[in-house]
């Protein structure tokens, strides 16, 4: 676009939007109102309505409106590596302006027939993940956590341990402390050259968050597709992103659906999460996100829609019995684990994993029984003892061991607490791994 279109007559100003007469504007186009970024959200004949990201405070009916001629863009190149940027893709690290190819964010969908089946193991050393909810590259999965859980610490830990060529952090409504925590973690680990951060802190206007995931995914697509790299995208906190969507919908008088969320929440979230992909050429985008919950309520529209979109969820929970944070084996799930378990990992993996979780469920029943004041039978007591051991040795997030060792630990727990017929594992696997000599409860 050779020239910029400037207008100086705004006809209507609301809290988040302003309307003016302008020619040639397109839906989704980026503009600046008084120098503040804004986006076209409706064009009706000559009337163009803009959503001003930082709010309309200070805008007058004579403010300058400049149309940029394109939707929000990011300049992609290898120069992105190591940079800290804001929601508009502008540096916040004092470094030089970005250079490179201009790409509109929110790019087209990958043709599904051109995707590959994600089946490369992404190991983290955390048994609650690798054993029970095994991840693969090209997967999308959030941590579900109450606000008091150390979710950003766990997220950073996973990012540092997972094998990735690039780590892209999209921070939305991040507290300044957590922003600095990520920065320190990356620099201490000496990985600053392989990260890109798009940051919106709680001090920035909330609507600017809306651009963060698309910016992060556009950078990810550049590295994963153009450079054929394994890219890990971290998005935290997607609940704050959704809250910003609700603010916009509300200001535009849209009819809200459940929990005051816009009716398009599912599609809005899906367009982000579906950017995760395994390409045939080896490049991949894996998205690990955080969705904070309100008192563990996963029926709320945000976690609910998320769960319907992502390939599982990792549920953080405080286990009072061992005094540690664990990955809850019941409510957590990795939908892509079956692409690798027992195939890329040892053959006994699926059976051991299931047996342990099933017996843990028996333990929880026994616990309820005990809490209700009933006598525990001998089996109940064994289950409870097992649960504590299982939680400490395998479920706690501070575990860091290879998968084979997780499986060996699993067998050792089974043999310590249970009888052969109680574990319900397929005969050929039992014959191979169950050591009669080690059985405690013959």
């Amino acid at each position: 676009m050779g020239f910029k279109r400037i207008y100086t007559k705004i006809s209507n100003i609301t809290k988040a939007t302003c309307t003016l007469k302008a020619e040639g504007a397109r839906f989704g186009e980026l503009a600046k109102v008084n120098g503040m970024p804004a986006q076209v959200i409706s064009v009706m004949g000559e009337d163009v309505t803009l959503q001003v990201f930082s709010g309309t405070e200070g805008i007058s009916s004579h403010s300058d409106v400049i149309f940029t001629g394109s939707p929000p863009i990011l300049k992609v190149s290898d120069l992105l590596a190591g940079r800290f940027l804001n929601g508009y893709g502008e540096p916040i690290d004092g470094g030089p302006e970005l250079r490179g190819e201009t790409r509109a964010i929110k790019g087209n969908a990958v043709n599904p027939v051109k995707r590959s089946k994600p089946s490369t193991l992404l190991a983290t050393g955390i048994a609650g993940i690798d054993l029970n909810n095994t991840l693969v590259t090209g997967q999308k999965i959030p941590f579900f956590a109450d606000p008091d859980q150390p979710y950003n610490q766990v997220l950073a830990e996973v990012a540092m341990r997972a094998e990735a060529d690039k780590i892209i952090l999209g921070g939305m409504g991040l507290s300044n402390d957590d922003y600095l925590f990520f920065k320190n973690t990356f620099s201490k680990a000496g990985v600053l050259n392989k990260i890109v951060c798009f940051i919106n802190t709680s001090e920035n206007p909330p609507l600017e968050r809306l651009l963060i995931p698309d910016m992060a995914c556009t950078a990810a697509e550049y590295f994963a597709n153009d450079q054929k790299q394994k890219v890990l995208v971290l998005l935290t906190d997607m609940t704050l992103y959704a809250d910003a969507l609700a603010i916009v919908a509300n200001k535009m008088d849209q009819i809200p659906s459940k929990d005051s969320m816009p009716g398009s929440l599912y599609s809005d979230l899906a367009s982000i999460y579906e950017k995760s992909v395994q390409f045939a050429h080896g490049g991949s985008i894996t998205i690990i996100a955080v969705t904070t919950l309100n008192e563990g309520d996963i029926t709320h529209a945000i976690p609910d829609n998320t769960g319907y979109i992502t390939e599982g969820q990792l549920f953080l929970k405080q286990d009072a019995d061992i005094g540690k944070v664990i990955i809850d084996p019941f409510r957590s799930l990795s939908r892509l684990k079956q692409n690798v378990i027992g195939k890329k990992t040892r053959e006994d993996h699926p059976q051991v994993m299931n047996a342990l979780v099933r017996l843990y469920a028996d333990a929880m029943d026994a616990k309820t029984k005990k809490e209700n004041g009933f006598d525990l039978n001998e089996y109940d007591k064994r289950c409870l003892a097992f649960a504590k051991d299982y939680s400490r040795k395998l479920l706690a997030v501070d575990v860091n061991i290879p998968i084979d060792q997780m499986l060996d630990t699993g067998w050792q727990l089974l043999q310590t607490y249970f009888k052969k017929f109680e574990v319900g594992i397929k005969e050929n696997i039992m014959d191979h791994y169950w050591d009669d000599e080690k059985t405690v409860n013959a």
Binding site: G24, A25, R26, F27, G28, E29, S42, M44, P71, A104, G107, N108, A109, V110, N111, P112, V113, K114, R115, K117, P118, G138, Q139, N225, Q254, I255, S257, K258, G263, Y266, S267, A270, S271, E274, V277, F279, T299, A301, D304, G307, Y308, I309, G312, F330, R331, L333, P350, N354, R358, A361, K369, N372, F374, D375, N377, E378, Y379, F421, E422, K426
Partner: protein
């Protein structure tokens, strides 16, 4: 051609000033940067037209030219549909260039350069009606009928039909004349508007024959019928997709249509990669040979979600008209309903419950009613069986999509969070779920002869057994293990046995994943025999121990190929366990 120009854009809702008469649901093409973007007219007020765009609208300028096509959203019907991977508007995804789907890219649904071997089935001089078979070509291994176009009304006389040989789909296969002497040239291809049902048959009858899905909890306990309808609601992660894919892999259907509607791309990739490798247990061919996938995943245009389910249903009806048994699966119908909601809200229509459009129940009812078993004009039978998943918000079944569907679908496969948490897969709730076909006298009669006399009565008895077991469990947990008679424990553990050995089934195990009706009949009788046995235990703890052993043996049987040496070995163990389980127990057979 009638034209118009763009006057407004809000997301994918486009406002157009039309220059002539416009029909509701007509397709229009919006010119934008050398491309033509497809949209469907959804409201006409004088010359003001609202249309939903099947693309993103970022490139559209005010004043852009719009062509109104005068046609509804249509599919192309002809040989070559099977094994195809279509988007929601029947574009062939495999023919698209590039890694990403470019805006406005379209590809032809059929292959105009492939020869099909045609065999005529009719003679010149014969009288024919819409849907009658003129000839047949081999499509993969299926006999694909070339039919009198469905749009033709009244009687026609066959003037000529080509002789056996290889032809292209656009070649003229037959010439017909109408009663008014109009000449009609029939090729292998015809078009049909997707929102209208293909009604080229004599009659639709009540479903009465079991459709084998290979899943015990369905076939044995909650059977699906040929030409029947069912729905699978469940919170996320409870196994809707895995269940539907298991049904897809194992069902005895001639043709399979899978509609991936607004869900994950990786789930379709799973089908793309697996189906060509899997053998159809029924025919020994690859599963891909009989399958068409319609794929409008959650990141693809929202407006095309609605189109995708209708495209799928129309293709299913097309194959039914050939006398085939068609199974159509849609995952998830809730995403389609949500797409309707997004558009309705954007149009500022007065909303119904949960902001869904008020006509949602009628739309769903109308769609499900397109399934059915039909007798064709020539007396042959064809069927469309439809199973859709429903994704209720918050996992709560009291919401508009689940409720509307419950009124029209005859089988209800309720997935329970609790069962999924306990990894009791498939997590179908045995009490809440049902198949209304069990109450159809014609179905009872049919199973009496095809399975065994009194089959349905036995199924109902099994459901009672499960219900009693759960009541016993509640009593035990209220009163405590030793405060209830030992008999309560037996009742409870009998239902646990049914749960573990019948309801639970490992969809990821090569053997267990698919059970023939024969095998199911055998195991079901075995289990119900045990259910009838009276056991005497002195202490409640013995009950659990005994039944856990039984369950373990039964599971090993399920993992072993039917009637294999291994299977027989475990069967012997079972008989032994039942006969001599320690001195404390007396069995009465």
């Amino acid at each position: 051609m009638n034209t118009g120009k763009v006057t407004g854009v809000i997301s994918n809702l486009i406002f157009i000033e039309a220059h002539g008469a416009v029909t509701q649901n007509e397709i229009c093409l919006i010119h934008s940067e050398n491309k033509q973007l497809m949209a469907e007219v959804i409201r006409v007020t004088g010359t003001q037209v609202s249309a939903q765009l099947f693309e993103t609208s970022m490139t559209i300028k005010m004043g852009s030219l719009v062509d109104f096509t005068g046609r509804m959203l249509e599919v192309e019907l002809g040989p070559g549909i099977l094994s195809k991977k279509y988007d929601g508007l029947q574009n062939d995804l495999t023919k698209m260039s590039g890694l990403f789907i470019e805006i406005g890219q379209t590809t032809p649904p059929l292959d105009s350069d492939v020869y099909y071997n045609f065999t005529p089935l009719i003679q010149p001089g014969e009288t024919v009606h819409a849907g009658d078979w003129l000839g047949s070509v081999k499509e993969n291994w299926i006999d694909h009928k070339i039919m009198v176009p469905f749009v033709l009304k009244g009687a026609y006389t066959v003037v000529s039909v080509v002789k056996k040989g290889d032809y292209l789909i656009n070649d003229v296969m037959a010439v017909l004349t109408s009663e008014k002497d109009e000449k009609i040239e029939v090729t292998m291809v015809q078009k049909w508007p997707v929102k209208r049902a293909i009604n080229a048959f004599q009659q639709k009858i009540r479903p009465h024959k079991i459709l084998q899905t290979g899943l015990r909890v369905i076939d044995t306990l909650n059977p699906m019928a040929e030409g029947g309808t069912g729905y699978i609601p469940g919170p996320f992660g409870t196994g809707k997709t895995v269940l539907q894919q298991a049904i897809a892999k194992n069902s005895k259907a001639d043709v399979l249509i899978v509609v991936a509607c607004g869900e994950r791309a990786n789930e379709v990739v799973e089908i793309f990669t697996e189906f060509p490798k899997l053998t159809d247990p029924d025919t020994g061919r690859t599963l891909d040979d009989k399958t068409t996938i319609i794929c409008n995943t959650s990141n693809m245009p929202v407006a095309a979600r609605e189109a995708s389910v209708y495209v799928g249903m129309t293709l299913a009806e097309y194959y039914r008209a050939m006398g085939l048994k068609v199974l159509i699966l849609a995952d998830s119908t809730s995403r389609w309903a949500q797409a309707l909601r997004e558009m309705s809200n954007r149009m500022e229509e007065l909303p119904g419950p949960d902001a869904f459009p008020v006509e949602l129940p009628a739309t769903i009812a109308n769609f499900y009613s397109r399934a059915g078993i039909t007798q064709l004009n020539n007396g042959a039978w064809g069927s469309v069986t439809f199973i859709g998943t429903v994704s209720p918000a918050g996992g709560n079944f009291k919401e508009p999509v689940t409720e509307s569907t419950s009124k029209v679908a005859r089988c209800f496969y309720a997935l329970s969070q609790k069962r999924a948490d306990a990894k009791r897969y498939p997590a179908i709730d045995p009490i809440a779920s049902y198949s209304k076909y069990l109450d159809y006298p014609e179905f009872v009669e049919n199973t009496d002869t095809s399975l065994q006399k009194g089959w349905v009565a036995l199924v109902k008895k099994c459901k009672d057994l499960i219900r009693n077991g759960l009541e016993a469990r509640d009593q035990i947990s209220i009163l405590g293990d030793d405060a209830v008679p030992v008999e309560y424990h037996v009742v409870f553990w009998k239902s646990e046995m049914i749960d573990f050995a019948l309801i639970q089934q490992d969809s990821f195990d090569d053997v267990d994943m698919n059970n023939s009706l024969e095998r199911q009949r055998y195991m079901f009788n075995k289990l119900m025999d045990i259910g009838d046995m009276e056991f005497t235990f002195t202490e409640f703890e013995e009950v659990a121990t005994f039944f856990k052993q039984l369950i373990n043996i039964l599971k090993q049987m399920n993992y072993a190929p039917f009637d294999s040496a291994q299977f027989k070995k475990h069967k012997k163990e079972l008989d032994k366990a039942l006969l001599h389980n320690g001195e404390k127990m007396v069995t009465q057979l």
